[in-house]
Structure formats: structure tokens, C-alpha cells
């Protein structure tokens, strides 16, 4: 069993053998991976030491104190948070050793080919086809809302392999090569003027069967692993009071007394309280995770932040008066990273509209809370036992 003391000394040894000051960033990250200190709860040989997940904090603290470079987790969030746990759970030994190291180091960026124009909240209705051809699969279809597609080397993909089966049962999960000539990535411009997402057109894309994850027809279950890990990765860091959007609004309030009205003051305080309670809720969730008592509160965080971000940024635009009539710039850019609190209040207002849609709409997440947390009965359904090809669309 690996304990905190051993991890600390291993980390110090890594730092001694590869001093961050004189080692290239990528070289250091590779050495860290090979020392099993990338994600300590992963298996030996795959960047980990089979240690308890909570002990990662010991390693991170040592590395931060030594000013060691990190793998810029925000840039490779889909790889770390979604692709990696799925590769670990369902990949062959070859697949795991081929993909996990460059993924963690950040040499290879990953994206996620799940949503389609006709399959948003009802993801299992997806229609992108995968047809077997010898040792390969041939993919045809269209995906949408794919962040990082234009910089990604690999994608996790779900596609329909059996149109005769009910929708949840005819899906298979693959690793897709984004450099395949049949992959075409087009920017998708959104209401902010930017294009942080893409449409991805797949035409005769060929995937070796060795890059299938899980059994044929079992892709929905495999995708649950991916999506479950998306939720776990929320709530990692401690947020300071007035962190996030409320801090911007409070600062504007303090610095601009001429903008104040009684109505705005009352609404500011309402939102300030809600934001502080959301912060405490996140902190409580974090403490539950550290104590090994994960609760369903994670789903509360996303719902709460969506509503709050929208309300806070909306109030800020209103508070700004004449300035609220303006917008930074409408030029179409393709940012690699998205900062919800970046840019001006108008941008924040528009971007936050997506917070209640992306990663599960507020309406769907409320259903999930109602059914899975509160145990309320599901809506009657008429799509569960119908062949996918016979569904209305």
C-alpha cells in the first residue's frame, strides 16, 4: 500500500532527478507520468501507483511548492475528465498504453463526438452510423457542439451499429482518429460571436476494430462511464469568497457609486447571498469527497451555477447603464480555452446562457435529480422498446 509518506519521497526524488528549473516542460511531465505520479489512483505503468485517489493532493502540494509545471488541465479537460476514465475501464492493454501517456502529458488533445443535431437531450437517439467492414468500421454522420475538435488528435465517438435494436441497445463506442481524411471540422459560431465549438462531419471515416471500447451494442453503458466522470471532476478546487462572476459585479458596485439604485442594491444582495451559499455548497461537497462520502450534491452545483451566472451577468449589464449598451467585439474567433468570467459583462451575459444548456439542460438535470435523488416516478415513456429505425424524428 502506498502511503502519503512514500508519495512525498517519490515526488521529491522526481524533483531531484528532473529539476523543473532546468528540465523542459514536456520532459518533466513525461518523467512524472513514468514515476506514477500523474494520477496516483491509476495502475502502475499507466501514470499511477494504485494509490487512493485522495493522496493525489500530497503529490500536487509537493509539486506546487517546487514550482513544477502542470499539464494545463483546462486545455485537455475532455481527455482527462472523460476519455481517460473510459479508456482505463474499457480499453485493451495496447489501447491503454498507446493513448494514456500522450493524453495526460497534453501532447495529444481529445474531443468528444457525442451530440448530434437530432440528438441533444435525447442523446441515445443518435443517428451517426458505424458499419462493419472486415477489421474496420466505416462511420458516416454529423456531430455538433464539439469543443476542441479543431485542435484534437483523437476523439471519443458513439455511433449506431444496430438500427433494428431499441435506441439504447444499438450503440457502440469508438476512438476516432481526427486526422482521418473523412473528418471535416467546421466552426460553429455562437451568440457571443465566437466559435468555441464545432460541427464535425464524418464521411466514410475508417476506425480499426481494435479502437472499439466495450462490446458491440454496449456503447450506451460505456458512455455512462464517460458522463459519470464528467460529474465527478466538478467541485475539485476550493473557491474563495467572491470568486467567479459575483466578484466582478461586487467590484463594479464598489468602484462605481454613480450607478447604484435601490432596486439594483436589493437584487445585488440577493445574488451575493446566493453566490456565497453556492460557494459553501461547493466547499461542503469537496469536504464530502475528501472524507470519502460522495453525495448527490454534485448535480446541484451545475444547476446552481448556471442560474447564478445568468442572473449575475444580467444584473451587471443592467448596472452598467450606457456601457451595458456596448459589446467588446463581435469578431469571430476560435478560442482554445473558454473563460466564463473573461471579457466584458455583455459577453458574460451571452455566454452564460449556454450554462443551462451544455452538459445537460437544466430541465433534464432537474428530471435526473427528481428521479434519481428524490426517487420520484419517471414520466411514462414510449421509446424504450421501439427499434431505433422506427422512432419519430
Amino acid at each position: 500500500m502506498t502511503d502519503a509518506e512514500e508519495l512525498r519521497s517519490r515526488t521529491r526524488r522526481l524533483l531531484a532527478e528532473h529539476p523543473p528549473a532546468t528540465t523542459g516542460r514536456t520532459d518533466f511531465l513525461k518523467a512524472r507520468f513514468d514515476a506514477g505520479l500523474a494520477w496516483v489512483h491509476y495502475p502502475v505503468g499507466l501514470g499511477g501507483l494504485d494509490a487512493p485517489r485522495a493522496l493525489q493532493a500530497v503529490v500536487d502540494a509537493e509539486l506546487a511548492a517546487a514550482d513544477a509545471p502542470d499539464n494545463d488541465p483546462r486545455r485537455i479537460g475532455i481527455g482527462l475528465g472523460m476519455a481517460a476514465p473510459t479508456l482505463l475501464a474499457y480499453g485493451s492493454e495496447d489501447v491503454k498504453s498507446r493513448f494514456l501517456r500522450p493524453l495526460w502529458v497534453g501532447e495529444e488533445v481529445w474531443c468528444q463526438l457525442f451530440s448530434e443535431p437530432g440528438a441533444g437531450s435525447d442523446l441515445a437517439a443518435l443517428g451517426t452510423r458505424a458499419v462493419r467492414d472486415g477489421d474496420e468500421w466505416v462511420i458516416d454522420g454529423q456531430k455538433v457542439w464539439t469543443s476542441s475538435a479543431h485542435v484534437a488528435r483523437w476523439a471519443i465517438l458513439i455511433a449506431r451499429t444496430d438500427p433494428e435494436a431499441p435506441k439504447h441497445r444499438g450503440i457502440t463506442y469508438f476512438v476516432c482518429d481526427m486526422t482521418d481524411p473523412g473528418v471535416e471540422v467546421r466552426p460553429l459560431r455562437q451568440i457571443t460571436g465566437e466559435a468555441e465549438f464545432n460541427e464535425v462531419f464524418l464521411t466514410g471515416v475508417r476506425i480499426p476494430d481494435a479502437h472499439r471500447l466495450g462490446e458491440v451494442g454496449d456503447g450506451w453503458r460505456v458512455a455512462q462511464t464517460t458522463l459519470m466522470n464528467e460529474r465527478v471532476s466538478i467541485g475539485g478546487a476550493r473557491i474563495p469568497r467572491e470568486g467567479g462572476m459575483i466578484g466582478k459585479l461586487a467590484t463594479t458596485w464598489r468602484e462605481r457609486p454613480e450607478l447604484r439604485t435601490h432596486d439594483l442594491h436589493r437584487r445585488l444582495l440577493d445574488l451575493w447571498v446566493d453566490a456565497e451559499v453556492a460557494r459553501l455548497t461547493g466547499e461542503r461537497l469537496r469536504q464530502q469527497l475528501v472524507a470519502g462520502q460522495p453525495g448527490p450534491e454534485g448535480s446541484a452545483m451545475k444547476l446552481g451555477f448556471a442560474r447564478l451566472n445568468q442572473a449575475i451577468s444580467g444584473l451587471e449589464v443592467e448596472l452598467l447603464g450606457d456601457e451595458g449598451l456596448l459589446y467588446g467585439e463581435w469578431e469571430m474567433r476560435r478560442p482554445e480555452l473558454v473563460d466564463f468570467t473573461g471579457r466584458d459583462a455583455g459577453y458574460r451575459y451571452l455566454r452564460s446562457k449556454g450554462n443551462s444548456i451544455e452538459g445537460g439542460t437544466t430541465e433534464v438535470l432537474l428530471n435526473i435529480v427528481a428521479e434519481r435523488v428524490l426517487g420520484l416516478p419517471p414520466e411514462p415513456r414510449n421509446d424504450k422498446d421501439v427499434a431505433w429505425k422506427d422512432l419519430a424524428r
Binding site: P257, V273, E276, E283, Q287, E363, P377, E379
Partner: protein
Amino acid sequence: MKAQTDLLYSETEDDLRAAVRSLLGDRAGHQTLLDRIETDDPYVPGLWKSLAGDIGAAGLLVPEELGGQGASHREAAVVLEELGRAVTPLPYLTSAVVATETLLGLAGEGAGPVAELLASLASGERVAVLAVPFSTAPHPAGAGDGDLPEGPVRAVADAVAADVFLVRRPDGLYAVPAADAVVTPLTPLDLTRPLAVVDPTGAGGSRLADADAARAAVRRGLLSGAGLLASEQLGLAERCLEETVRYTRERHQFNRPVGSFQALKHRMAQLWLDVVGARAAARAAADALATGSPDAPLTVAVAQAYCSKVAVRAAEECVQLHGGIGMTWEHPAHLALKRAKSDQIALGSAGRHQDAIAALMELPAPA
């Protein structure tokens, strides 16, 4: 190492909760309450003795050397969660929290009348009530710090249960035997928390502290009361949600459980989110009070501003989503609604607490 703010429940707290819940379930079910609330004495006989004496809940805030349990606001908050869940009429918040904490603010002097009174409160042998209107906020903007009105004090909670009143007079804080004051019961919105006009004029009593010490001690008592009231509100909200979920799973209309309709599910899911927030806020307040954090006034104000609204919303949703049965006297939903609505005013309304936040966080109103 202890986290900066501990927002979880300890095993001891879980055990205490189980003991209190079991006691209230056995002795103070809602039918028992309905049978008593229209009488002169809504308190269930013997229940205070069981909670205060047998479980030791009245002395949680009092150090062992002064005759208490030497626990903290965190444990008292758990007791209040349970009292809120069951909407129990007991002078816990008023005597074991507000009055006790006020006296603790004066207890530095060791033996003497304060210590003696504290010991009798901690054992549950006596009940003391701070003679201020139940709406008094702990912050400077509230009535607690203003001029002291002479004469009768309106809407004092649990006055009819008091053996002793703590009375602020211009020259300090007095302990006044309840028998010497004129107590005139009022008809409260919340029948589970009796209110009365208390007139201590000319009732004498013994002086416990001078004016400055009294002001600080009363502030401290009210601050603890407001902070832990958030836990009562949390417990009440949680119970309302549970009952609503239970009922809408069973109740069928249109050949379906009504709880399967999204229009209802979303309302209950939203309420659950609010309760999750209320728990974090109430725990933060209890922990800040327990550790004597300098952040306590802000954390308490946040908890009150948030939890008082959540409790009212939960009780209102409980009535609405129960449909017709929720409107009847026979169903307990109205007990929760009346308690939640009164708690919204108790120890400072949300607006008063927001004013405190504005001052503490330098978010001023327009000039």
C-alpha cells in the same frame, strides 16, 4: 488536521440526532401537537425534561465546569434541525441558545448569580427567556442595540414557559423572576411557539451586568440564536420536501402518480437544490459560532438571509403540492407553514440580515 470550516456532521452529531429524533417521534407526533396547540399549554408535558435532562441537550453550549455538556453550536444546531423537522413546541432556541449564550457572554466572573443561573438552564431545571421581541436582529441595525424602550415588551417567544426573564434596562441586564413580571399571552400565527407581552416594569430582579457588558452579551445571544435558527429552518425545509415527495409518489390522478409529472418534479428538484444550499449555509453558521470565528457575523447573516426563504418556500410548496389535503387543519403541513413564516421574521428578517451583509462586505446602498 481540521479543515478551515467543517461543514460535515460528526459521528457524535449523528448519534445526537438519532436520539432527539427518536424522542420526538415517540412523544411529539403531529397528532399530539394538534391536540395541544389550542390549549393554554402547547408544550408536551415532560418533553423538556427528557430533552434537556435525559439527553442533556439544554447544556450543549455550556462548559462542563459551569454544569453543561461542554459541546458547541454544532451539536445544538443538530438538535434544532430535529426540532424544526418535527415543529416541536419547546423553549430550546429561546432558553438553551439565546438566553444561555447571553449569560455565557457574562460568565467570565466564575461563581455568582450568572453561573448559578447558567447551571440551572443547562440542566433544564429552569427556563430563561431574553425579554426582547422575537423579531429582534443581532446586528446594530436591529432593535437590539437601539434605545431601550421602557414598559411592556411585545411578542416575546416562549415567555409563558419562562421561570426567569433576562431584562435589559438602562443600567444593565437583570434576571427577573417570571412570577414578578406581567405576562399577557398573545394569539400567535405559529401556535407551536407561544408569544406574550412581557411587562417587567417595577418587577425588580437582580442585576447581572452593567450596560456595556449587557449590550455585548445580548448581541452575542441574538447572534447565536439567529445562526442556529438557520438549522431549525433547514430541518423544517427538509421535512417538508420529504413529505411532499412521499405524498406525490403515492397520490394518483389521471391514472399516474402526480409526482411523475414534470411540472411537479421540477419544483421538488428545485427545492432539493435549495435545501442542499441551506445545509451548507446552516452548517457554516454553526461552525463559525462554534469556533468563535471572526467571520461569524457575516456567516450568520448569510445563513439567515438564505435559510429563512428556503424554509418558507418549502412549506409553501408542501401545502400547494399536497393539494386540498394540505389546506386542512388535520394535515400537519400548516404547522410547518406557520412556523416557517414566523421564523422568517424571527431574529431579523432576511432584509435586515442583507443590510448587515451590505455593511460587512462594503456593498453600500445608494447615497
